[in-house]
């Protein structure tokens, strides 16, 4: 792009923020030009979210200056920022649960008409404005949040891990709508841990490391590696190579499965699901958003009971009434949502040790020494940055995620149910988690892994089952679980069909009219819509092959 520095639309310099002892941001800077989509990248704990919060007045910086269109200004509150043209879609949906959508719009002075326009652009054309936010699925909330932001016609739109929890078709819409803004006089700041989206969407990228801006990169075909190196800095070297998956060990036919599901249904979204999970294997679960995988994991983890069907653990049939029963049977669960899994005000130690004390049998005196030992081991194994460790809420998202897993690793896990454990965390941490899962399997544990990041299947899983419309529609061996075929399976399409959304995604990257229909046509008529997050990975993958 043009070397001579054009007028910056938004320029933040020397931003710093410390929380107690921890430095979230030290001298971070960010310059955004009019009409560009600007990526904000960084490992977990780099300070991305915090920076965005500062730019929109949600957090007040300790130091630094923010200038919009050359004029310096201090932003006191999100409302003020919005009036000044700085609007952010935060990571956590910021709609008010007990108000309906219309009220939510009113409270942000959002023009309803243009909101309607944007929300249908984004794929929810007949959203009912009178429904309570509390009752809407997360994905819809994210989209509504974005539509509301767009309807406020921001100069600078900031998206913090916007696509992290979105189904494929919605992700496509978001990327496409955002892409369309290029070249205008407003710009977008885009935070994501998915390089592929960055490559598809962004013009330039600012990279944060440990709260500091370490580089600004023009996003081009080859810039990925550069960016990763910047993000990880010296650590880059230590990245473990993608775990070597040994050829699936030949299993005697009569080998007893660790956990088997027999015709499990929940009565609503899950139908007749049966599979075996063997010791020493990582079994992947692939599904578009809302195909019943949540219900399946809830049942396996003992959070809810199956309507019909049965579970068998180590050959003995079980009926879980409560997660405690599952844990008793050695079946443990790592939810995707940290807020569900962690006691934010308590220490890393207490969080990891929680399962030790849960049962009535363990209500008596604790063996502090033994506990410390186990916990420290777990912290070491997962390389948790516990600087801010006496209150988990002060850890960064990535480190919080590690704590949720450490809890079970510490107890010596037999059967591990992981629901999208790498959601919204950085490459390095992801790698660590892959390796960990493999090691657990090697150690004889059985791992069931739902992932929304399809390439993880090939990296980590011995085999994968694909769920669609609440039924298992395919089983794929890990080796040949390449993304296109997984995606086809996930959409329940015959191998030869193209996936229309993918076609759209690169047929007209700048969003030609009509793309909406094609994209919609892609979703299966009767299956609940939604899609594989990261489906966006596919197109550019193929783009290089045959530019349409």
């Amino acid at each position: 792009m043009t070397p001579n520095p054009p007028d910056q639309l938004l320029l933040a310099t020397g931003i710093s923020k410390t929380y107690g002892a921890v430095v979230a941001l030290r001298n971070a800077s960010l310059g955004v030009r009019p009409g560009e989509v600007h990526a904000l990248l960084g490992a977990n704990g780099a300070g991305k979210s915090t920076l965005v919060k500062i730019l929109t007045g949600a957090v007040h910086p300790d130091g630094g200056t923010i200038a919009v269109r050359g004029r310096e200004r201090t932003v006191h509150s999100p409302a003020e920022a919005r009036r000044g043209g700085l609007v952010s879609v935060y990571q956590e949906p910021s709609l008010i649960p007990d108000l309906d959508i219309r009220a939510n719009l009113r409270i942000t002075n959002t023009p309803v008409e243009s909101f309607r326009h944007w929300v249908s652009e984004l794929g929810l054309p007949d959203l009912d404005l009178t429904s309570l936010a509390r009752r809407l699925p997360l994905a819809s909330l994210r989209v509504i949040d974005l539509a509301r932001a767009l309807a406020n016609e921001p100069d600078v739109l900031m998206l913090d891990e916007m696509t992290a929890a979105l189904p494929a078709n919605l992700t496509e819409r978001v990327l496409e709508v955002v892409g369309r803004r290029k070249g205008g006089d407003s710009s977008v700041i885009f935070i994501s841990h998915r390089m592929i989206e960055i490559a598809e969407l962004c013009d330039r990228a600012t990279v944060l490391r440990e709260g500091e801006t370490v580089g600004v990169v023009d996003v081009t075909a080859g810039s990925d590696k550069r960016i990763v190196d910047l993000m990880l800095g010296p650590m880059a070297a230590e990245i473990p190579a993608a775990a070597e998956r040994p050829a699936a060990a030949p299993r005697p036919a009569d080998a007893q499965p660790r956990l088997s599901a027999r015709g499990v249904s929940d009565g609503r979204r899950l139908h007749e699901v049966s599979f075996d999970l063997h010791p020493g294997e990582v079994l992947g679960v692939v599904a578009l958003e809302g195909q019943g995988q949540d219900e399946l994991f809830d049942i396996l983890a003992g959070s809810s009971r199956p309507a019909t069907g049965s579970l068998v653990v180590d050959g003995t049939p079980v009926a879980f009434r409560h997660p405690a029963d599952a844990i008793q049977a050695g079946v443990v669960y790592v939810p995707a949502d940290r807020a569900e899994a962690l006691m934010m005000q308590r220490s890393v130690r207490e969080n990891i040790a929680l399962p030790f004390v849960a049962g009535v049998r363990h209500w008596a005196m604790l063996n502090m020494g033994a506990e410390r030992k186990t916990v420290d081991e777990a912290v070491a194994t997962l390389q948790i940055d516990a600087r801010a460790g006496n209150e988990v809420r002060r850890l960064s998202g990535g480190n919080q995620q590690k704590v949720t897993i450490a809890r079970w690793v510490a107890t010596g896990v037999r059967t591990l149910l992981c629901f999208d454990p790498t959601r919204g965390i950085d490459i390095r941490t992801k790698q660590q988690i892959y390796v960990l899962l493999r090691e657990l399997a090697q150690g004889g544990a059985a791992v069931l892994l739902y992932t929304s990041e399809l390439k993880e299947v090939q990296l980590v899983c011995d085999r994968a089952i694909v769920i669609f419309g609440g039924r298992i529609v395919a089983q794929v061996a890990g080796a040949d679980a390449d993304e296109p075929s997984l995606l086809r399976a996930a959409y329940n399409l015959a191998p030869d069909e193209v996936i229309p959304e993918l076609a759209v995604a690169f047929a007209n990257p700048d969003g030609a009219p009509g793309s909406a229909d094609t994209a919609a046509a892609g979703a299966d008529p009767d299956g609940p819509g939604g899609g594989a997050p990261r489906a966006g990975d596919a197109p550019t993958g193929e783009q290089s092959e045959d530019p349409a």
Binding site: A79, P137, N169, L170
Partner: protein, 332 residues
């Protein structure tokens, strides 16, 4: 158009309808219960009639208004344990100021007392917002402070009330069956609350109570809104104090049992103590229900101590019923 949307929205419109029922269902239930209790009274005591209904209207007046005050604060995600004391203070001020004064002056006093209520609420709110001490603690402590001031104003009960004010609290209006007190109460509450509820402020109350962080990010001035909720609460507390003076004709410095009873009424009235949900009508009806329960027990000459027990059991029972509904809804 996309299937996500259709499905989602289909599901949603169903949900939507359930919401409508859900939002008012509890209030309807209370009205039903009230009808039953009234019928029961009529059966046990056939002479139960016009006078009793008018008495009912007067009896519930102070607590009903106190419940509204509490509801406003709770909806906004707070709680005010100083309502009883604020009522005592405003009531003694009113009674002392009106004592042996011409009726016209009474109007001035009423306005002054309402202003006082706003001021008391403003102090509570300012303390809650600026000190960041949990509102339960702040208002609990302030309940001592306001009660102290009440004792300074009037070491002993006494004073007087303008005749027109007392007239407002007793007797029928239009028809014998309509207690004037109830009509007055509904009008006053409507005049104060409806404009607020329709305004951006009312919306902010619910937003704040529902999720403070989301509210802040949506541009709700969190501090000011929380403060405002206490101010409005204070205003209603002052109205409650006036209701006390109106129905008794005097002011009593020792706070009545209104603080905790208002909390109970608010919960029985379908307002979530977590904030963000409910309205002011439910709590008012809940107060009438509580009063009728007492009346029915009196008619049945139930041992007065067992009546106290029953009061507790009913409080627990109704809320238990409510949370059972919640649990069942959640499990479905």
């Amino acid at each position: 158009m996309s299937t996500t949307a259709t499905l989602a929205s289909r599901g949603r419109s169903l949900v939507g309808r359930r919401d409508v029922l859900r939002r008012n269902g509890w209030t309807f239930g209370l009205l039903g219960l009230l009808a039953v209790l009234l019928l029961f009274a009529k059966i046990v005591e056939p002479s139960y009639g016009v006078l009793a209904i008018q008495g009912l209207g007067t009896s519930v007046l102070p607590l009903a208004i106190a419940a509204v005050a509490q509801a406003v604060v709770v909806i906004s995600g707070g709680i005010d344990l100083s309502i009883g004391s604020m009522m005592a203070l405003t009531s003694v001020v009113a009674a002392s100021a009106m004592y042996k004064q011409p009726d016209e002056f009474g109007i001035v006093v009423v306005i002054g007392v309402l202003a006082l209520g706003l001021a008391l609420g403003a102090v509570n709110g300012a303390l809650v917002v600026t000190t960041k001490v949990p509102d339960i603690v702040v208002t609990l402590a302030m309940s001592f402070v306001w009660a102290g001031f009440a004792l300074i104003v009037r070491p002993a009960p006494g004073g007087g009330a303008s005749s027109w004010l007392m007239d407002l609290a007793v007797g029928p209006i239009l028809v014998d069956w309509i207690p004037k007190a109830t009509v007055v109460m509904l009008i006053v509450v409507a005049v104060v609350w409806i404009p607020i509820a329709r305004s951006r402020l009312g919306l902010s109350f619910y937003a704040l109570g529902s999720n403070a962080l989301a509210a802040f990010r949506s541009g709700v001035p969190v501090g000011r809104t929380k403060w405002a909720s206490y101010v409005v609460g204070g205003l209603f507390a002052a109205l409650g104090g006036l209701a006390l003076t109106a129905s008794t004709g005097i002011g009593t410095p020792v706070p009545g049992p209104y603080t905790l009873e208002s909390v109970a009424a608010v919960v029985l009235g379908g307002v979530s103590l977590a904030g963000g949900r409910g309205g002011v009508l439910g709590p008012m009806i809940a107060v009438v229900v509580l009063q009728m329960v007492r009346t029915d027990m009196t008619f049945m000459s139930i041992d007065t101590n067992l009546a106290i027990v029953a009061q507790g059991v009913i409080l627990i029972g109704v809320v238990m019923f409510g949370s059972l509904l919640e649990i069942r809804r959640a499990s479905r």
